[in-house]
Structures are given as structure tokens and as C-alpha cells.
Amino acid sequence: MNLRKRLALTRAGIMESLQYRLGTAVTLFANLIYLVLVYFLWRAIYDSAGTDVVNGMTFTDTMIYLILATALFNFLEMFVVWDMSRSIQSGKIILDLLKPMKFRSYTFWSYSGSHVVLFTLTFIPTFVVVMIVTNGAIPMGINLLYFAIATVIALVVNFSMEMIVATICLYTESTWGINIVKETIVLLLSGASIPLAFFPDGFKTVVDYLPFRAVYDIPLTILLEKNGADTIEGILPMFGLQLAWALILTVAGTLFWNHAVRKITVNGG
């Protein structure tokens, strides 16, 4: 299982996602409009609040956090659940299982191409625009490196969650339902819809230890140097939490998949 094989999958993925240029362009444009909506909403919220800082977050902090969370979401979004259920229905999954590569890593590397494209096309432009518009609100330094590391781990955690949910779908034959449950929980508890800083204390303590935070909140907190993430002592526990969940979810997901794959029933194909 050498690296070249994997990078070939990455390249194929890049070419595939560049095929749908119109879709990518429209989605990018719509995201911009969506962000404007988010801006108006939080502008109104902060204007009504009467104070500039709420729970340690200024309006600018909140906006940067939410905009970059949306950009991260667009780049991390995967359709493993849908793809898997479709390939089970069509029988294509048999071909994927027969490939001389573990299914899990085949899926991961197939997606890596679109991750690369989306990172370049959505995340980087958004980041640059935010950087210019807010004029220095994002600290520029070693935190960028830490952010990059945290994002890679976030990608692994996100993929593991997707795989576990997709495996559950093998049993339930319910794709839409399981997927919407996953999406709702992840978006709410990861801080993608409301920054975790606003969560009430008791609730937040629980959420702090859950894996969802590792996907959006930790990379963004590290980037913005909030919550003590401006020192290495503050960052290490965050990396620790991310790595622990990445490990736990990968092992659990692999075991679960190995167990489930024997149960796949393919009708036709």
C-alpha cells in the first residue's frame, strides 16, 4: 500500500471535482450570500445587545469564527453516507470491496482530491478576504501552523464520524434519517451554527469533551488564539482531545465496519 497509489486516487478526485465547475461556482456564490445573511443576523444581534463584548466574543470575533466555520464546513463536507447507500443499492459497493485496498482507506483517499480542490477554492479565498476585511483581527504567526495541524486532525475525526454513521446505515436502511440526525448534532455541538463560547456553562462542560468540538471549534479557537490558545500549554490539551477522539473513532469505526461488512445485503448489481 504505497503512497503513489493513494495519491493517484487524490488526483482522480481532483479531476472529478473540477468537472463540475458550474456547480462549484454557483455554490461559492451562494455561500457568499449566505455569509451576508449571517452577517446581518449577528449585526442585528450585537446591535440589540448594547454591549460590544458578549462572553468574551466581540462582533468581529463572532463573525470571523462563523465565517471560517462555514468555510471549513464547505471544505470538510463529505457525502460518504449518501455515496455508500447509493452504491449498495446499485451493487457497485462489491467492486469497491474487491479493490486491492482497504475500503476505509480507499474511501478516504478518494475524497482527498475534492478536499484539496475545495480547500483551495473555498477556504483559502474566504480566509484571505476575512483577513483583509478585518484588517489584522486574525493573529498571524505560529498559530497558522497549529491551525493547519488541527484542521488535518479535524478532517480525520470528521471522516471517522462519517464512516461510523454510514456503517449504521447498513443496518437501518434509512439514509436520510440517520444523515440528518448526524448533521444536526454535528452542526450544533461543534460550534458551526453558534460559537461554543455562547453555550451555557453546564452544557458547555459536556460539549467540551465530545468529539464534535474537534471538528470546527478547536481549529478555529486555535486560529483566533482564544481560550488560552495563545500559549503552547493552552494548545496541547486541545490537540490531545483531538488526537484522542481521532484514535478512538478510527479504531471504533474500523471494528464496526469489519463487523458490518459481512452483513451487507446487495440486491442485484
Binding site: 463540475y20 458550474l22 456547480g23 454557483v26 455554490t27 451562494a30 450570500i33 449566505y34 451576508v36 445573511l37 446581518f40 443576523l41 449585526r43 442585528a44 444581534i45 450585537y46 446591535d47 440589540s48 445587545a49 458578549v54 462572553n55 437501518t172 436502511e173 434509512s174 436520510w176 434519517g177 440517520i178 444523515n179 440528518i180 440526525v181 444536526t184 448534532i185 452542526l187 450544533l188 451554527s193 453558534i194 455562547f198 453555550f199 451555557p200
Partner: protein, 278 residues
């Protein structure tokens, strides 16, 4: 196609509401029967639907824990708007859910079967799916609306109830129109699913008072992608009964207009599909 359709209309001139209602019931029963064979899916989908609504509710709770009001809208008025939007979104969820399948059917060519029946293509296509899980959303919406209603202390009179029903129907027309138009883009653009996904995401902003938007975007979200009409303007007819804005009065007529336009757009797509033939 057109010729045979007109011949059929000549043979059976009466194609009234009763005729279509009877057909709808028959197709609906078939759909429910086939759904019942995937009971687990039904249960999980319903749970999923309730989860999304709960998450929206939790978002509200967290927001109002930190901020007392949004643009002069307090917690209960916002909940009213939220409940109103959930109810208004039920028809599009229950009766027009098949729009999500349109692009697959068009792409695979299966769509042609709808063109060979002597009934309205749009009606036949939509009647094929009744989405039961929309009812969970309806229940949640009614609960939220009643809770907010009681706390705001709006009097319950026949006139208010009449307004509520009229403006809920109006509001739902706008969302149906948005989704019809979004789905119909697939007749022209291959793999246009993202248009629907985007519109479905914009709908999340229906639950906020749209006077928070300014400038071009206010016009855009009022007249081009009319999410301001999914809850904000219609609900003002009840929340601000003494001072109802002009746009609220225009809402019913605009709703019918938007729906009609989206229907025409959809049918234009069908006609184009006929010509390419696959």
C-alpha cells in the same frame, strides 16, 4: 404529446377538483403502503425531523441566554415566528417532497413516464410522494406557536383565526414556489442539486425578522428569493394587527403569483424535456 392530451380532454371534459382529489387519494395510499414496508426508516426519519427542529429550538435558547432581543423582537415573538415558519414549511415538506427526486428521474430518463398519462404532469409527479415525517414538524410547529401565542397574549377571535389560516397558506405558497423553481433548474442544468440545497439552506433564515436585512439583500430576499414571505410578513398580520404593512396585505396575491410562475417554469422544463426526448 400535446395533441393526445387535448384529445383526452375532449373525451373527458370534466377534470375538476373531485377528479384530481380521487386520484391523489389512490396514489397516496399506494405510497403509504410502500413506506410501511420500511418501518425503521420511517421511525428514524421522524426522529431526524424532530431533532432538526429541536436543534433550532436549542439555538434559540442559547441565543436568548446571551442576548435579550434581536432588533426589538423578544424571545416569545421570535418563537412565534419560528413556529409560524415551521407550520408554513409543512406543505412543501409533505406534498412537494418529490421535487428532490426530480433531477435523478430526469437524468435517468424515468421522468418520461409522467408525460404519458392523461393528467397534469406536475400534479402526477408531486402526488407520487407524501412525506409523512413532515407531520412531526407540523406538530412541533403548532406546539411552538401555541406556546408563544399564549405568552404574548394574543386574543383568540374568529377574525384572528381566519387571518392565521389565510396567511399560513399564503406563506407556504412562497416556499413551494422557491422549491419548484429550484428543482426545475435540473431540466436545463445537469446535476443541479446544489441549487435546491442552497435554497433549502436559505430557508433557515425565514425564522428571523427580515427587517434585519438591508439594502440590496432586503430586496433580494423579499422579491427574488422570497424567504421574507415565508414567515415574517405573513405573521405580522397577527403580531402587529394595528399596523399591518402593505407587503403583508399583498402577500396572498404575491404568493399565488409566485406559485403560478414557478409552476409555469416547471412545466416549461417538462416541455423542453419532451423535445429532447431520451
Amino acid at each position: 404529446m400535446n395533441e393526445s392530451a387535448s384529445v383526452n380532454t375532449l373525451k373527458k371534459p370534466r377534470r375538476g377538483f373531485g377528479f384530481y382529489a380521487r386520484i391523489y387519494r389512490k396514489i397516496l395510499v399506494q405510497d403509504l403502503k410502500s413506506k410501511m414496508s420500511y418501518r425503521a426508516d420511517f421511525v428514524i426519519s421522524t426522529i431526524g425531523m424532530i431533532m432538526t427542529n429541536l436543534s433550532g429550538f436549542v439555538t434559540f435558547l442559547i441565543l436568548f441566554k446571551n442576548f435579550p432581543s434581536i432588533n426589538g423582537w423578544d424571545y416569545h415573538h421570535m418563537l412565534f415566528l419560528y413556529g409560524f415558519s415551521l407550520i408554513a414549511l409543512t406543505p412543501v415538506q409533505c406534498f412537494f417532497d418529490n421535487n428532490w427526486n426530480l433531477r435523478f428521474q430526469v437524468q435517468s430518463g424515468d421522468f418520461i413516464k409522467y408525460c404519458f398519462r392523461p393528467i397534469n404532469v406536475f400534479f402526477y409527479f408531486m402526488s407520487e410522494v407524501f412525506d409523512v415525517k413532515g407531520l412531526g414538524q407540523l406538530a412541533f410547529g403548532i406546539g411552538t406557536l401555541v406556546y408563544a401565542w399564549v405568552h404574548i397574549g394574543i386574543p383568540v377571535t374568529p377574525l384572528v383565526m381566519l387571518k392565521l389560516v389565510l396567511f399560513l397558506l399564503t406563506a407556504s405558497l412562497f416556499m413551494i414556489a422557491i422549491m419548484n423553481a429550484a428543482a426545475a433548474t435540473c431540466f436545463w442544468i445537469v446535476g443541479s442539486g446544489y441549487v435546491m440545497v442552497i435554497m433549502f439552506r436559505f430557508k433557515d433564515f425565514a425564522k428571523y425578522p427580515s427587517n434585519i436585512f438591508h439594502g440590496v439583500f432586503r430586496i433580494l430576499f423579499t422579491f427574488v428569493i422570497p424567504i421574507a414571505f415565508v414567515a415574517y410578513y405573513p405573521s405580522l398580520s397577527i403580531l402587529e394587527a394595528d399596523n399591518i404593512p402593505v407587503l403583508t396585505w399583498c402577500a396572498p396575491a404575491l404568493g399565488v403569483l409566485f406559485f403560478y410562475l414557478s409552476y409555469k417554469f416547471w412545466m416549461l422544463g417538462v416541455r423542453k424535456y419532451d423535445f429532447t426526448g431520451s
